[in-house]
């Protein structure tokens, strides 16, 4: 079922939020739903982490997930990256099923998604350049030269053009995270998932990485789904902010509304605790 032919999903105040584009929501002119979760439930043992969650993200939008630790934000990104599977529900990306779907299809859909992790997860056995070229060469079939050209451009973008040949372990955390961002972008994903990408960094390195991401948000049309505790950053880049609590979206809206005049007491509490 093509995503853009679908009527809007049934809404219940607590679980549904659709990231409406200014042009008028899913199906509206100039907007297209890229990610859709429907009735997604995820349990770890007896603990229900996500409870019949519905939400969608339109192409090109920057959506930020905020909420207390343990509320299931990482789990959502991991579901989209197929690092873990839901127990129930459906996940659709760019009109194609990601769950439930045969492994072959998962593999294809996965190529549309890039992810940057809290702990960078660079490959320590490869140089910075190899980290970035490995997947474009082996997965996308680029020639080594093409892949290296692309990698050098990206390293230039993230401000590490001179670090091609060093090992990730020789870089600072902030530099490693920039390489990880370049590595994810090298696959030209449609969506970039960012999971608290600055929370493992020394405080003085955070700003540089956030500025880079602001840059990318501004200058590319990549869709971003971002978990962060950096509220200023969230305010700057987001088209939509979703407030999570206990595996449910309790409030969503444009950043001015959510940060300026939240409807929910829980949101207010959370924001006053982190701001």
């Amino acid at each position: 079922m093509p995503a853009d032919a679908e009527p809007s999903i049934p809404k219940t105040a607590a679980t549904t939020s659709t990231v409406d584009s200014p042009a008028g929501g899913p199906g509206g002119p100039g907007s297209r739903e890229l990610i859709r979760l429907e009735q997604v439930t995820k349990r770890f043992g007896d603990h229900t982490v996500l409870d019949r969650l519905d939400f969608s993200v339109d192409t090109g939008k920057h959506v930020t997930l905020i909420g207390p630790s343990g509320s299931g934000k990482t789990t959502i990104l991991r579901l989209l990256m197929t690092l873990t599977k839901p127990d129930e529900g459906t996940i659709t990306v760019d009109g194609e099923r990601l769950f439930p779907a045969p492994e072959q299809q998962c593999r294809e859909v996965r190529k549309k998604i890039g992810m940057v992790f809290q702990q960078f997860n660079l490959f320590p056995n490869m140089t910075v350049l190899r980290n970035i070229t490995e997947a474009p060469v082996t997965v996308l079939g680029l020639s080594r030269d093409e892949a290296e050209d692309r990698a050098r451009e990206l390293l230039d973008l993230v401000g590490l053009a001179d670090k091609c040949d060093v090992r990730p372990t020789q870089l600072s955390g902030g530099q490693q995270q920039r390489v990880a961002i370049a590595r994810a972008l090298a696959m030209r994903p449609q969506v970039l998932l960012l999971d608290e990408v600055t929370s493992a960094l020394d405080p003085e390195l955070v700003a540089g990485v956030l500025d880079l991401l602001r840059d990318i948000a501004r200058s590319t049309d990549i869709t971003m789904l971002c978990v962060t505790h950096e509220m200023n950053f969230a305010r700057d880049i987001s088209d939509q902010v979703l407030m999570f609590d206990s595996g449910r979206v309790i409030e969503s809206g444009p950043p001015e509304k959510l940060f300026g005049d939240p409807d929910h007491e829980r949101t207010r509490e959370f924001l006053s605790a982190v701001l």
Binding site: M81, R110, N121, L122, T138, M187
Partner: protein
């Protein structure tokens, strides 16, 4: 203790042969142990029970029976089923097979030691499973386990005199043969003992240095 330098002179050429045989058994046996151990370790991570279960059975069985029994089995029993191997080939295969069950454990620990984030990054980049193993997981795992593998090579060296029991004339075999012919045991045994130290001690120093380097 009686010590006769001319006896020593008589023994040295034979000893030279023995050293070569010991080293040959050690190098070939270690290569088998390294390769086969990796096969066991990977097979034990197979999603298929029919692969995992027999491999676990075989490796547990081999690890928990004495090397000497395995050597006798290969040398005396297998020929009954039509598989006859030379003494040296038996020794190499026996050592390699026996120690492969230990190296398998070493590899397993090394593979388990690669952080889950490495697998996740590989998935996020859509790397196929085979490529993830070859380019990401194994290079990191092997680096971790090199010192432990080296320790097993030294253990294999010290077990190599067992090959004497099936007639392989490695260092100790040469010494015993020389002794029973000349009734002069002192010189050959002392030489062989020293030779073991001279091989094993520098090797373990080298390993420790390697361990320090890899730990950095």
């Amino acid at each position: 203790m009686n010590w006769d330098w001319s006896t020593l002179g008589d023994f040295l050429p034979l000893f030279g042969h023995g050293v070569l045989v010991t080293l040959q058994a050690l190098v070939l046996g270690a290569l088998i142990a390294f390769a086969l151990g990796l096969v066991w370790a990977l097979a034990q991570r197979s999603p298929l029970k029919v692969v995992r279960w027999p491999v676990t059975a075989v490796t547990e069985f081999v690890r928990n029976t004495p090397l000497l029994v395995q050597l006798f089995f290969i040398f005396y029993v297998l020929p009954e089923w039509g598989l006859t191997l030379s003494a040296l080939a038996t020794g190499v295969i026996g050592l390699g097979l026996h120690y492969s069950t230990y190296t398998a454990e070493v590899y397993r620990a090394g593979i388990d030691g690669v952080p889950a984030g490495q697998w996740e990054a590989a998935t996020a980049l859509s790397l196929p499973r085979s490529r993830t193993w070859a380019a990401v997981i194994l290079p990191q795992a092997l680096r971790r386990v090199t010192p432990a593998l080296g320790n097993y090579v030294i253990a294999m060296l010290k077990d190599s005199p067992m090959l004497m029991t099936i007639g392989v004339l490695e260092m100790l075999g040469q010494a015993r043969q020389f002794g029973s012919r000349t009734f002069q045991m002192n010189e050959p045994i002392v030489v062989v003992g020293i030779a073991f130290v001279l091989i094993a001690y520098p090797a373990s120093l080298l390993l420790r240095a390697l361990e320090r380097r890899l730990a950095r």
